[in-house]
Symmetry: C2
Subunit: 660 residues, 2 copies
């Protein structure tokens, strides 16, 4: 892959330099994600006209909108949300586009955003793998039979696989035999044989006429409790062709894994849950095939990574004892199963490889993340955090790995949040609030009219509300801040307006409510407590962690300092953080490309140990202490301590309650 061209933007006033800006990036987006404030009420659609800037130097494109007067345009002003970066730029932000007072640009610059990886970076995370899929298409030319050599078709095929490709001890799927005579003869004894490498030897799963080796695709899936992500991979080219996602259809049977286990024990429940997720999978497969322009029949393999419960439910396996002490799953390594057998609409010969799990609450998604992020190869003590409906944390390196899991709820994926949504087009993904006026400035994914708020937007909103003093450390709105953006709804409950109806595609104002904030507090509290419990169990301090990998559907957009502001992460050096995005999908992708990586995944699953948090008193204490923004114990939050002190917040005593 060619190196991507990047540019540098210098924002004025303040000489704020942003390096590594991708070619054709959007100026408003760069500013907001780097913590540089520019007003924006419409999410970056050009509709509010508030993000006027002057580009004093450098090459760019665009910047016009109906909202920018001719006069302003002639005066050199542009709308930041319409400007594409084509070279190094100097961007001056005029008074009118800044926050009500100078605080945004003058108060201490927020720490950097952590390392966000390019596609190439992601591939480079893991060393030493090459494209050598466990499922392979092989072109084979056979000798036609004659009276002197009229051995049966099946043995003829096996002998050719041995002679031409050195494959020994080959078994052949029963279904292949049925039409083998026709397949062999249709294109004059030239065939394409699909072979899957199994621990007990190679197995032929399909034979079709002609040389079809150029068309070889796989589908990899991240089966999350809340969302299902799919990638369509070109196995020959080693490339991702298309991506898609959907909410997991099982949501209607419960938002967390426990509720779903309970539902699965009702009459017909297991089948319903299985069908629900299969329907979702069918939908995402449909999408990636359409996006990629790939025919269903060209897909020869599927890999799915999910937590243990999702893996069981997808394959229709009994989950009952996952929920009951001593928390025993039916299996951590599921035998391969024909995808069609599960109702997934792919060709009959396609097998679904489900990622091996570690235990009831440390699943294949984590194993996949550890593979995909290269943690299994590193010397450094690494903390791997996957933030989803289940939050999982792993600590270790190439020598040892210890994992744990806690239920965070779906808040980070937009679930259980009044205007929550997944991180797709139209989601508010970044938010800044003017502390002097309480006015929100928002950025949406794709610069589209806002539809809702995704996980990173929710974190930003709460962090900003906190730093603006609009909510207290307990997550409750302060009545004194009532006004245009903080108001009571029809039921008399407080809500904060992030985007007014005129700038949304939601047909209404997009707001955040106290219950939303409460959900977020419990979610971040569980994850933070999980991390500290995990580290405590292996006798390590947060300082001992040399690097932190953060995975999750929203991961790429999450800003370390915003996450630290609400207490999801401790305030450690942001440079130690790397955002890998969907780690589960990342590993599934590698495993689909490389049989060595499949072996590595199985080794990781076998060797990883597991700390159980249920009935763990240390965790319970940590969790209770975490139900505060950022935390009742400010030891790991010095920056927030300062900000909150500046806002005149009362100090917290050791019991974790406010002293007044």
């Amino acid at each position: 892959m060619a190196e991507e061209t990047t540019h540098t933007i210098t924002f004025q006033p303040g000489d704020i330099v942003c390096d590594g800006v991708p070619h054709e990036a959007n100026v408003l987006r760069v500013a907001l994600l780097e913590g540089v404030h520019i007003n924006a009420s419409c999410g970056g659609t050009g509709a509010c006209g508030k993000c006027k800037v002057e580009i004093t130097d450098g090459e760019y494109e665009g910047g016009k909108s109906a909202k920018l007067s001719d006069e302003d345009y002639k005066a050199g002003l542009r709308l930041a949300c319409r400007v594409k970066v084509m070279g190094d730029l100097t961007v001056a932000i005029p008074e009118e586009s800044r926050m009500g007072d100078a605080v945004a640009l003058t108060h201490e610059r927020r720490p950097g955003p952590g390392r966000v990886l390019t596609a190439q970076d992601l591939e480079d995370l893991v060393a030493g793998w090459r494209i050598d899929p466990v499922v392979k298409k092989i072109a084979l030319k056979l000798d036609a039979p004659d009276a002197a050599n009229n051995i049966n078709d099946l043995d003829r095929l096996k002998l050719a696989l041995k002679a031409q490709h050195g494959l020994e001890n080959v078994s052949v799927d029963f279904h292949v035999v049925r039409d083998l005579p026709l397949m062999l003869r249709l294109e004059d004894w030239l065939v394409t044989v699909t072979v899957v490498e199994r621990p007990k030897g190679p197995k032929v799963i399909q034979v079709v006429p002609g040389d079809r080796t150029a068309e070889d695709f796989s589908i990899v899936l991240d089966i999350g409790t809340t969302s299902v992500y799919a990638q369509l991979l070109d196995l020959k080219a080693g490339k991702t062709v298309a991506e898609a996602s959907e909410y997991n259809g099982q949501i209607s049977y419960g938002e967390d894994v426990i509720t779903r286990i309970i539902h699965s024990q009702k009459a017909g429940g297991r089948k319903k849950l299985q069908e629900a997720v299969v329907q979702t999978i069918t939908a995402v497969i449909e999408k990636v095939l359409e996006k990629g322009g790939v025919d269903r029949c060209q897909v020869s393999h599927m890999v799915a990574a999910g937590n243990t419960v999702m893996t069981h439910l997808l394959t229709g396996v009994n989950t009952k004892h996952i929920r009951i002490a001593p928390y025993v799953p039916a299996a951590t390594f599921l035998p391969p199963v024909r995808a069609g057998h599960l109702g997934i609409d792919v060709c009959d010969h396609v097998f679904l490889y489900t990622f091996p799990c570690v235990s009831s609450y440390v699943g294949g998604d984590i194993v996949s993340g550890i593979i995909g992020s290269g943690v299994f190869q590193t010397d450094k003590i690494t903390l791997y955090i996957d933030i989803g409906t289940n939050g999982e944390a792993v600590v270790g390196n190439s020598e040892w790995l210890v994992a744990t899991s806690c239920s965070a709820g779906p808040a980070f994926e937009g679930g259980g949040i009044e205007h929550g949504m997944r991180a797709t087009r139209g989601a508010i993904e970044a938010v800044q609030i003017d502390p002097s006026t309480g006015e929100p400035h928002i950025l949406t994914i794709g610069g589209k009219p806002a539809l809702g708020i995704c996980g990173s937007g929710i974190i930003d909103t709460v962090a900003e509300l906190l730093e603006a003093g609009i909510i207290g450390q307990n997550g409750k709105f302060k009545e004194a801040k009532a006004g245009q953006w903080l108001r009571r709804n029809a039921d008399g409950l407080w809500e904060y307006v992030l985007a007014s109806q005129e700038f949304t595609a939601a047909g209404q104002d997009i707001v955040i409510t106290e219950p939303d904030i409460d959900n977020l507090m419990r979610a971040k509290g569980a994850i933070y407590a999980g991390i500290t419990t995990l580290l405590n169990s292996v006798g390590l301090d947060l300082d001992a962690v040399e690097q932190v990998y953060v995975a999750g559907g929203f991961g790429k957009y999450l800003q370390v300092d915003r996450a630290a502001a609400i207490g999801l992460f401790p305030e450690i050096n942001p440079e130690r953080f790397t955002f890998v995005g969907n780690g589960s999908l990342l590993g599934a992708r590698l495993v689909s490309f490389s049989k060595d990586m499949q072996q590595a995944a199985e080794d990781v699953a076998r060797t990883m140990t597991n700390i159980e948090l249920s009935d763990n008193q240390f965790f319970m204490d940590e969790y209770i202490a975490s139900l505060f923004f950022p935390h009742t114990n400010m030891q790991w939050f010095p920056r927030m301590e300062k900000i909150l002190a500046r806002l005149g917040q009362e100090p917290i005593d050791e019991s974790g309650k406010k002293s007044t």
Copy 2:
């Protein structure tokens, strides 16, 4: 198995001694099968009252019937068809129960019937095997999980299989995992695990709660072109529990394999043929389960032996190229397939093992027969003949085996014969004809009113008609013999009445027609020509054959001398002949009991070579020469030559045609 008690019967006049008569045998049956004549028009049902005998010495039971007058009974007469042998007997056959003149008892005694095997004899044919099925039920007690050992259920199972039974490298069928948690816990961690040994290691195919190892059954099938035979086996006891048979439902799509191949190539044809035989299998399974009082769920394995075409059609495999030179089957070793997947109504976990085949026309039924009869172990040069719709012949011993196959048509199984039927209750299985009067005397299977004629009955009838001079060597009736039993039917065609309506359950006279005789001639001609061509191909003479094993649905009842009379076999020493009955079923049974035998079957299939008869000119010449009773060349038929000479038949010249 305890040795069977046998007795000796001495028939008078003539001091004809029959040894080895089974306890409780029927006197009429013993007499007719040993070539001792006693009149019987009703097949042995007690309805005609013709088989009066006087038992002058020994222990017996029965002998009464409404047809025996009190006067006769007081005079010491009994009906032979109603007498059960309970000890050594002397039986006097009075004048009135003998043939019209003394010829039957005075003419040269016919040679013995060849060796007919008891169940014990059959087991003794094969040495060194023991009950050790490839599919086994294992009782397993597991430790319940606790917090210290909460490994997943599947690994717990695998570890226990290894620790308690030394099973390593175990794979587990996906379906087993789904309800494994429930199965393990239902009877407190005591389970029965069904394991199948595969070339690549053991595979768990079922886990059920409790110790169910006592209930372990298999079903073995002989899938013949005309008939399907099933046995239900108790794998634990090593016993056959029940047997059943049905005509193969595929018959309605053609009587021979070629017609069926052609039909299978029509749209939907392959599916229809598969469904037809599966329906038949379902019916025979139903029967054996009912007879055996065994629940469907207790069956854990199925083995099917059939010719190559039957094996392909049962499993839905393309047969097209079996019929086209160079005669290539899709596969000779089919991968195991879930029986339920083929539509066979057994539990989902049951796999169907199909016997390996050798080539397009030497199938798994022959391999099975070679195993079941012990030919693969013998030092003696052995000729193995399987007489069915396809006639197959194998020559060789433990060192080498050469096979061939020819299409005989269904005549030997009662197919294509006006009143033909399979060898089941009510079938006329033995026939004697009084040469002086032309009167038939018949014996039916089970002593039931006649329903039709089975293969051995047809052979007997034609042999007797020939020896009585009622048909000529060309198989045509002699008008001069017209009378009560030889008559013209409504269409003016000749037919011979074997049983008159009053003694049948057929609702009409049971007759044999000229087309029936013609069908038999072509059937026996093909088999005889196959044998001589096979021997010629390996440079052996009939004299070099040290033993002959004859298999076939009718095999046990067939009499060597009757078969030689029509020219099905040469007149070699009858003591060299052994009748193994259904050889295909015999081998399938062994393979179901013993994994070593399965291995042996695969070795035989791999090493047996094959002589192709299509386009073989030697075979065609032999076949044409065989279309005569017994043959145009009387070299191997000295006894028949004498009898025919006595009847005043014209000698045959070397060209194979009558000289006049």
